[in-house]
């Protein structure tokens, strides 16, 4: 089915999630919708599939204007969507899930439904057991079920929101094969993703979104660097960070390999100096947070050693527990401020109490009040000592997190330190961080904002496709070089060594 979205606008509060977005998908094609997290892709497809009501704009299906107000309307019009987190019923069986929402008589005809289910799943070579409980299925199998269900409802345009996250390689191959069959049948597929390689492998055409707008449209194949430039756009900002780097090494790694059960990334040998800022760039979920968690002592490395300098010389921290990392002066600020960083229902003062080690049973109200009040003034937090942090704005929550960090830290690890913050708060946060650098703290931070990476880093490590690049000095970084690397053309140790045989590159 031909789908046309014209001049779609949608805002959430002050955030314009979609701004005058126009987007055309031809029948019989697989159309990629590419962009970083928060670019507005999900909002756009949710508008098309009836989960979100648009502020303005027109939806044309096969040239006719369509009123899509609820998901049921969309299904009726032939548009079905597969959500990133499958919208199904985990305790129920596959067959029950298949039947919910289907038209029919009052009494369930399980046998007929099972027959149709079996026929459809064999057509796409999916092996699903109709009597299995959803909760025991893998993410990939739940996707397959949802695809079958939507097709049985007569869907002619299928939307998939980040479908390759959390499924195995063979499931991905099966999914892509099925989608190609659907396109060949004349259906249209909208494939939402932030993974370049998936879009390049599967799609016939791609539309790139950035900050709520469509910034480009291109047939596939096309050069990866072109797509990356569209995703991140524009010329890079100029570095603003003053030189604070010292000679001493704060953190050293030897043959470090990080990862979880799905991913392993070789970091190799790395020396982070006192006062240095290292930026971790790359598409989100490429391993930056694993690196931060490993340095913070929350995750253990797969191989290699982590060495921290202390007054008594270098200490091997590789297998030490988290509290040893804390005592060694390593601070970690997670991205999800309210889930992992702060406790929403507790006040600023109560956070101070939690942080302050106290020998007695009772809370020293007066002293912690003074400390909290001092932090509020020093960090310019718009709130009171008795304000629950959940009621603070994002910027003020981040200020609170920073205020709660111990004064003397040798290494600060941050994930998206300024996400969701206004410009004033962003600048302020970095002033604080740089003043920490001046006292000798090293900083490692991950950000999906390339401007932030370029403005504040001394060196940048790029993560892409399960690998990490060598650290690259900010002076040597150009927009195209960064784009190439994020797109997957990484400069790893072996590559750099072959390009600089005289060993002039300092790692």
């Amino acid at each position: 089915m031909n789908v046309q979205l014209q001049h779609i606008n949608k805002h959430f509060g002050a955030v314009q999630a979609n701004q005058d977005v126009s987007f055309t998908v031809r029948a019989g094609t697989i159309h990629g919708l590419l962009g970083e997290n928060g670019a507005g892709k999900s909002t756009l497809v949710k508008v098309l599939s009836g989960y979100i009501t648009r502020d303005s704009g027109t939806i044309l299906l096969d040239g006719l204007s369509a009123e899509v107000k609820t998901p049921a309307d969309a299904i009726h019009a032939g548009v079905g969507m597969l959500h990133q987190d499958p919208l199904d019923f985990p305790p129920m069986t596959v067959l029950d899930n298949f039947m919910i929402g289907r038209a029919g008589g009052a009494f369930l005809n399980s046998r007929a439904a099972a027959r149709e289910f079996k026929m459809l799943s064999s057509r796409f070579k999916f092996s699903l057991d109709a009597n299995e409980t959803i909760g025991t299925l893998t993410m990939g199998e739940r996707q397959q079920l949802e695809i079958i269900r939507l097709l049985s409802l007569g869907v002619r345009t299928l939307i998939l929101d980040e479908p390759t996250t959390g499924i195995s390689a063979s499931q991905k191959a099966a999914l892509f094969a099925a989608l190609k069959v659907l396109a060949a049948q004349g259906r249209s597929v909208i494939f939402v993703s932030h993974k370049l390689e998936d879009v390049e492998e599967l799609c016939d055409e791609v539309t790139v979104m950035r900050a709520g707008r469509v910034v480009g449209n291109m047939p596939i194949p096309c050069p990866t660097s072109k797509l990356v430039n569209l995703m991140f756009g524009r010329e890079l900002a100029t570095p603003v960070k003053p030189a604070t780097c010292r000679e001493d090494v704060t953190l050293g790694t030897e043959g470090l390999v990080i990862g979880n059960n799905r991913l392993s990334i070789a970091i190799g040998d790395l020396s982070v100096h006192g006062g240095e800022v290292i930026g971790l760039a790359g598409l989100e979920g490429s391993g930056q947070s694993i690196f931060l968690l490993t340095c913070a002592g929350v995750m253990h490395p797969i191989a290699g050693r982590l060495l921290f300098s202390s007054p008594h010389g270098q200490v091997d921290m590789t297998t030490k527990p988290y509290h040893r990392f804390q005592r060694a002066g390593i601070g970690y600020l997670p991205a999800d401020r309210l889930r992992e960083g702060l406790i929403g229902g507790l006040t600023i003062q109560e956070h101070v109490v939690l942080r302050t080690p106290s020998p007695g049973l009772f809370v020293d109200r007066k002293r912690t009040h003074a400390v909290a009040d001092g932090a509020i003034k020093a960090y310019n937090i718009h709130g009171h000592t008795d304000t629950p942090v959940g009621q603070l704005s994002g910027g003020n929550q981040q200020r609170t997190q920073l205020a709660l960090l111990p004064q003397a830290l040798s290494l600060v690890l941050l994930e998206h330190p300024t996400r969701g913050l206004d410009i004033e708060s962003t600048v302020w946060v970095w002033q604080q961080l740089i003043s920490r650098c001046r006292t000798g703290s090293a900083i490692i931070f991950a950000s999906s904002d390339l401007d932030e990476i370029v403005q504040y880093s001394d060196r940048v490590i790029v993560f892409s496709g399960g690998r990490a690049s060598v650290p690259i000095s900010i002076a040597d970084l150009t927009a195209s070089r960064l784009g190439e690397m994020i797109g997957g053309n990484l400069e790893t140790i072996s590559k750099v060594a072959s390009e600089h045989p005289n060993g002039s590159v300092k790692l």
Partner: protein
């Protein structure tokens, strides 16, 4: 004790469990839709009083039952409005209503305490009552009891074999997903909360018009809480909830028998014993030790056994539905 005596005890147990059957099957329906109506204790009490008063005033048992059902639905409407529309804590609303309705029943029911009134007439089912064993056990009581049998089967068939029943289960599990598939989550939650409340109300009237005929202060004390516990014990399945009710009925019958035979023990012990035993049973059956005990059975057979014994609350139980 001879065999016929045992039959009599069991028959009494089954019959006296009838009010609990109405209440716990009703609550099962409500909770399947994702709403907890915690007011059952108060609803049963107030409905018992109102049902009796209505029957007394009109002389009709039917009118009494109808009034009790309407009262139950009205209390459920307050729960539904607070929980679904205002998205407030279902626990708080239900608990306050439980206390309020209990006290209201004493206050408003003051004039009709210990007055004789109409009761549901007994009716032996022709033919069926002559079946050996089953006849005296099930078919020699009254219409309300027979109605409860029908209710159990009807609700079970509805939940597991009809399309609207499947949708009802789906809105209690994942309202967002149900909405995505075209269900009117809010409308349906209101409907099933009211329906469940009405059945709880009938359960209350079943006390005052049948099994504890008449009205007095705190006539039904404790039964509402037990009904709530039985819903959990029954794994939100009407058949198993009914089994729980009958088990409770049997415990009560046994306590009565024991009380008349063992004079040395204070009677309070026997009136409390069924509640204590019931809670023990709940604890024992809701642990996962059964699952672990079954670990040696081959996985294919185990799957279906586990599915029947495993109890899980509807995933969205007690949570408001937010549509974005």
């Amino acid at each position: 004790m001879d065999f016929s005596q045992i039959i009599v005890i069991l028959a009494t147990a089954i019959a006296t469990a009838t009010p609990l059957v109405f209440a716990s099957v009703g609550e099962t329906i409500t909770e399947r839709a994702g709403v907890i109506n915690l007011s059952t204790e108060g609803t049963i009490m107030l409905a018992a009083m109102v049902g009796f008063a209505a029957a007394l005033a009109t002389g009709s048992v039917i009118a009494g039952l109808a009034a009790a059902a309407v009262l139950g639905a009205l209390v459920a409407l307050i729960v539904a409005f607070g929980a679904i529309t205002l998205k407030q804590s279902q626990i708080a609303i239900g608990f306050v209503l439980a206390l309020l309705c209990t006290d209201l029943s004493s206050f408003l029911g003051n004039p009709i305490v210990l007055i004789p009134g109409p009761t549901v007439p007994s009716l032996k089912v022709p033919l069926l009552q002559n079946i050996p064993l089953l006849g005296p056990l099930l078919f020699q009581s009254d219409l309300l009891v027979y109605a409860s049998y029908v209710l159990i089967v009807l609700v079970w068939v509805f939940l597991y074999h009809t399309r609207p029943g499947l949708v009802l289960r789906s809105i209690g599990e994942q309202p967002a997903a149900a909405f995505a598939r075209g269900s009117h989550v809010v409308r349906q939650r209101y409907f099933y909360t009211l329906l469940g409340g009405a059945l709880v109300g009938v359960g209350g009237a079943a006390f005052s018009l049948d099994f504890k005929a008449g009205w007095t202060y705190h006539l039904t004390a404790g039964y509402g809480w037990i009904a709530l516990a039985i819903v959990i014990f029954g794994g939100w399945n009407p058949l198993r909830a009914a089994l729980g009710c009958y088990l409770f009925g049997i415990l009560q019958s046994l306590a009565n028998v024991a009380q008349s035979n063992i004079q040395s023990v204070p009677t309070q012990v026997f009136s409390v014993a069924p509640f204590v035993l019931m809670i023990l049973v709940l604890v024992l059956t809701s642990g996962d030790w059964l699952e672990r005990a079954l670990a040696f059975i081959p996985p294919t057979a185990r799957r279906s056994i586990l599915r029947t014994i495993r109890t899980r609350a509807p995933a969205a139980l007690g949570k408001a539905f937010e549509q974005d």
